[in-house]
Symmetry: D2
């Protein structure tokens, strides 16, 4: 738990004609790869026949020319990248999920976390249902299928299901003839759509994925909204809109999303630059250069530089070739992982007073090593500024901040943290600055549960991880 | 459809103590590889925690040291090799199936074909169930799970389920604490168990797999029998025994099974030798040498030689290195596939009158090429003897004889077939000789539906393939 | 050293027109795979431009559709399969060797072993040559290149080189315009050529490879002969013919070659059948059945059966799926490797007196396990007959019988061997029977050095392995 | 030829004791990966026994835990990354080269290009040498081996060889007991060494690789210097020093080297910032923001911003997941490669006047697409500034600027280039500014041949590529 991870990214497309549409999803998933690096998948819909490929690995590992060709042609497709926060990272949990059903096939890709999935699963199992995975996405698939039997259409089934699902979700569903996007009433996770020159509609977790496939951003899916895309056009169901206050995850802006994305009208890059402004105002310091820790500290570093007037410079070069198959040095080896990954540009550091901006601190270990590198390169002073408040609470809405006891901010005072990391001064973004990031005047419209902001959709009955534990205890016992 | 394929093989083990038990299953599956070469899988049970690995490919391709190690230790495990006769050969259809359920996990491996799976599936789907695969094994998993909710034990659930399943099945089920073997009341497919020196019980489709892991054969599971193996010992439920007449697939003896297996008390090798005796009696000929087409014609060739007194010899050498990744020559290439695979030992052929024994003829193409090779090598006469009657009907009980129109015997008279193949004389095993193969006096105790013997368990409502078609038509439509 | 290995197989083709000629070599190498399973390679000649691919592994592993396509079109090609008997099995030692030289490119494939390669190499290194591999093939390449500079043609260079090379070799050389086959004056290793319907000439170590690519056998290359194939036809140089007595390796007939090959006019299968006849004459026994150990004992078993009148039967089924990636059980595991590989057909064994024919015994371990299996299956008596004399000496001419101390026949009397193996009686083929195998009246025309027959071309100065050792000692030292 | 490529990077280490030293080379090669992405290799020296692994691919692809383990332990090792500029990218051309020789093994890694390699090769071939590759490194290996026979030590051989080699080279040689670094008298390519806390000496093409393995920079190898590292310490031979004027490749600073490297005392990052300063002075413009094209335009963009006072900002996000196996869209597809790779941060572009800094322009295609993206994102003006002068000439000293006719600057005037690219104004770094980059007052000490600066070591007789052509013509012909 040295880094935080988003759980998932979704991507879908509906085109006016058939072509090797899985290839477009492939490029879209590349743009969302930062949202999930453990598994990925694509399902192509060719006039109702679904063809899928999914596996553990990066988009580059899972798909090659022959697997893309094997997906065939189609006019609709959805894709998914996943970072699983719990349990074994099994192939069975890869998405999109596919369901063959007499009422019509269904494919499902999900970003978020369902609070009441344990209760729903228990209920379904007692009715005779069987589960193949431990993911909450399969619970949603069951719920929609069961509602489907009582409904006139798949969108009605989704609408009915949304009354029963609690938590965070940005969903993409594909039926033989429809592509459906749904976002939970709180709007925890982003979801938007755009259009391509050829009339294709593209739906994605982040706008950067629209840009990657040359689609023009149209608008965000609203919290609580269900949007149906099919050959008859676009229809919006707003039954669930406004039933809850909006609570977009503020950490999407601070860390998760790509800086070139625009979420609910706010540029992620600009939000981070504003975090830098705020840090400069709240924690001014006399220094020679402002540097950012690549990649996620760079935007806020520019903000700090602009507000403070201290020149911006490049402090580190990150080795860009360290991929998935990189062999990290073991304990017994003489190599230092931070040296392999990051190198200091000594020219900019030696003899200087440094403001170093990073996105956040989880356990503190990495920051400590980086500060030590600056000292070794001759830095006179190191002032650490963090573009996020201190993490104090676990997240139930789709990120993996789960074990409060591992968070440095729960175990140490600010002074202790500064001493552990070894910097001269330390400043966390103030909680009251969060509204500024998304250009609000009040502390509304976002979720900051992980920074002590409270749980707008409640907590999971027993925590997501406890759900897993309970589940595995249960399945061991048999009468 | 130049060759016929068995659908599956199953293997299970319950040991007195924990070890890397998946490795034993690995060796067992090797011995059953001839029963299915498209996919395979192993599930290991470590005190109720199931770990599985399965994929498309041969046992050698799917498992290596690291995947076997990742299965961990356990005291029970089941495995499966599969040849899928229909639809796409998808990873989703690989077995064993795993079910996580609040009443206890379940893993399931199946050899056979369920006649009423379409009806059951339709019914379950209308109750809200969702299916991930197109295999009938998932239907069985659902049925047992649903019965489980009304039962006091998993074996009771299996017993109840067997009243509802029609068709051919040899099943292995693994619950957290029990290993259960069940065979359909007709006993279409073989299933037996043995014991190892350390007290482990081993269950397998064929006795050759018991031998491979040094287990001593104990007995066959009887038609209709459910046998439960757990720490308390072995318990047999015979509620379904005798409810139907026995109908072991006669083609297991003729072609599918390994000659070193003993099925229901009859040696497969000996059955084939007896087929050779019968051919020699019914179709005597003056000749210099009897040869078999490797590998499945060799046993009957020895039988023919013994009965006729004509010397047995080796006619062909088969290239044993042509594996899964072998690149067959395309149409435009100058190479001849039969030459690459088989070579004649000219010494034994030139100037001689040959009796060539093969197991059966499906479309006739391969036989034609082989006879031409003998002629080119200088054979004076070629007399083809087939150790099976002519195929005339499709099979609904687990083999892939599905399209009657492709069977040469349905389109041509015996004389025409002889001329197409280019042999001097041709003799099929007579249908009335089948009882001799398994040492019976009457035409009972076996299924010979594919040779026009009638369908003892009925035909599938619409044929297995039509089931697939109906299913795929259904899933395309949506209200 | 439980099994003996041939070192290499070579294959070449020259066609009237350009096509993807590497594919034909691919099929040819399949037929020679038994001669070398460690590495393989193909070089295609497209009007003087050579393209090559070679690597460690079986033909199936090293070549796929894309590597074959990457070889491009050409009208000439050579290929090689290799079993390296010494040192590390490095990619650098894979063949064919390719040489780019101002006098014309050269590619070289070699089967055999050069006695004086250490001396030649030392001399060349002192003249400034550098070596990339430890194989003697590179020494030949150097020698021919150096002679080339003094010669008017490549064939003259080969001719001159042959005066300097001592030992066993069947060579294929490809220059931009010529394909050259050369066989050492003793003719230790086989080499023959044939013709295809389209006029292509095919050269191969064994005739079975001609058959595989539908080429008609023309004749063997004679001991000492150099044959040049090019667009002007076929030219033979016989300067070295008759300079030595012929010494074809008798073990090619007994074990190495495929039974469907014909070497120097003698069918390998027939030679083995004759070995069986001889065993039956020299070691008669009262028994119920004659069985062969698959695959190499089957031919002699038929011979024994015919001569003795005791019926031939199938004793064992060999698992044909155990490929290169098979994971053999470790010492700590409960599995028995012989059980996994071979299974007894109990029907043919129980209560019977068995004559079991095998090709040879190296260390005795495998034979011991197999005899034990027969006993466990109920054999009353087991009489082992070996189709080769006892190994007593190392080979310097291209096989890996190298360490005399490991040979069971050097450490034990016949009675001891019988007791170690556990058979009732034991009979080795008598040395004086060897001429019969190849239809000779005298003990001439073949090499039986490994059976104590003496070294017709002398011994290597220090043995091949000592050459390796000397080499590696040398390269460690530096002034 | 849309991008320029360095040819190679070298890395070596000599340690006081044995360990899995290849792992340290692995991390060192990661830091040099930007210098060559086509092949790589490592050779480990364990007391005179050399073990090597090399193949086509990135360091990540070629090495995994098992290949690293197979290199074993040792106290010396060298490694290489390669970008081949000519001919086929064959495995035979991968380095380090290994030579087994009676005078001691030798391994060789080379960065640079030998001008007279064709002449040397021709001469060696006429003396009977054979070549396995088309690389000039093999020519060096031969030359050193031949000189070795006349020398008392390997370092004397290197010294003698350097009188005969003309061109650019930074060499690493490993003998059983010595590690030798040599740099050509012009010093075209960088080479330096450092020391680790445990006393290991590390030699690398760039200082960033010293940092990566926690080695402290000691000094650069001087032009013409030969440095020998062994158990007796460090010895420098300076016979060739000062025989030529120094000519470090100026493009190392502008583009090839990593910005965190320091070459011959000059920080690469600082040199690029100074290029930005110069551009701001020579081409001032009224604008709102300065952005760099990632990654190589960022340093100069910061320089431009500082000198001009126009704020620096982030203009583009580069997708960091596009690796080697990425499938680029084909012509027939609807995707746009530039959109997939780079995305604009519209917030920083819309309505603004942009100064965009890039390193150089080769053919102009990529620049054109990027400018179009800025326009589409709403840029009011786009002013392109290039941190290099215009390419006008080919390079004979180790980079792949080879075909003058493809260089946009040779075919178009400045105004035409501006119009082709579509920017409002365009400024190339002035040739007379080059001395400033490396803090010189005169136009000496560097090579700027590619910018029309003349060839300090002469041109290859016929160009490197013509050498290849001549070679391939030659080898096609044969008497």
């Amino acid at each position: 738990m040295n880094e935080l991870h988003e759980e998932c990214g979704v991507f879908g497309i509906i085109a006016p004609d058939n072509y090797e549409i899985g290839r477009t999803v492939y490029y879209g998933l590349f743009a969302l790869q930062h949202r999930g690096q453990e598994s990925c998948g694509i399902v192509v819909n060719d006039d109702g026949v679904f063809t899928s490929h999914k596996d553990l690995g990066l988009v580059n590992d899972v798909f090659d020319n022959s697997t893309l060709a094997s997906l065939g042609e189609g006019h609709m497709a959805i894709g998914h990248v996943r970072y699983g926060t719990t349990g074994k990272n099994e192939r069975a949990n890869a998405q999109p999920i596919m369901v063959n059903h007499i009422k019509g096939s269904l494919s499902l890709a999900h970003n978020g976390n369902i609070i009441n999935s344990f209760e729903l699963r228990k209920q379904f199992e007692m009715e005779g249902s069987i589960f193949r995975s431990t993911s909450d996405t399969e619970v949603i698939a069951y719920l929609i299928t069961k509602e489907r039997l009582k409904s006139d259409s798949i969108e009605e089934a989704v609408n009915r299901a949304m009354y029963k699902i609690k938590g965070a979700y940005s969903l993409l569903l594909m039926s033989p003839t429809k592509l459906i996007a749904a976002r939970d009433p709180h709007g925890f996770r982003p979801l938007c759509y755009g259009v391509r020159d050829d009339g294709s509609i593209v739906i994605a977790s982040e706008s950067c994925a629209l840009n990657a496939v040359s689609a023009k951003f149209v608008r965000d899916i609203e919290p609580g909204e269900i949007v149906v895309f099919d050959k008859d056009g676009i229809r919006s169901n707003r039954d669930h809109c406004g039933t809850e206050e909006k609570h977009i995850c503020i950490f999407e802006y601070i860390y998760f999303a790509r800086p070139d994305s625009v979420i609910d009208g706010i540029s992620v890059h600009a939000a981070r630059v504003r975090a830098g402004h705020a840090l400069a105002k709240d924690y001014p310091v006399d220094a020679d250069i402002v540097i950012g820790v690549p990649d996620s500290g760079l935007d806020a570093a520019i903000g700090y530089s602009r507000e403070s007037g201290i020149p911006y410079g490049i402090g580190f070069i990150k080795n860009k070739y360290i991929g998935r198959t990189f062999i990290a040095p073991g304990q017994e080896q003489r190599e230092n992982m931070v040296n392999i990954k990051l190198n200091v540009i000594e020219e900019n550091i030696r003899g200087k007073r440094i403001v170093m901006v990073d996105d956040s601190v989880v356990r503190g270990t990495t920051s400590k090593n980086i500060v030590a590198k600056l000292r070794a390169a001759g830095a006179k002073e190191v002032h650490l500024r963090l573009a996020a408040p201190a993490f104090t609470d676990e997240c139930f809405y789709g990120t993996d901040i789960s074990d409060k006891s591992q968070l440095i901010a729960n175990n140490h005072t600010l002074d202790e943290i500064r001493d552990i990391i070894g910097c001269d001064t330390l400043g966390y973004l103030k909680v009251e600055r969060l509204p500024e990031l998304i250009e609000r005047d009040d502390e509304k419209g976002y979720c900051s549960a992980c920074f002590g902001g409270g749980y707008p959709a409640g907590r999971a009955a027993s925590g997501k991880f406890k759900f897993e534990q309970k589940l595995s205890e249960k399945i061991k016992k048999e009468n």
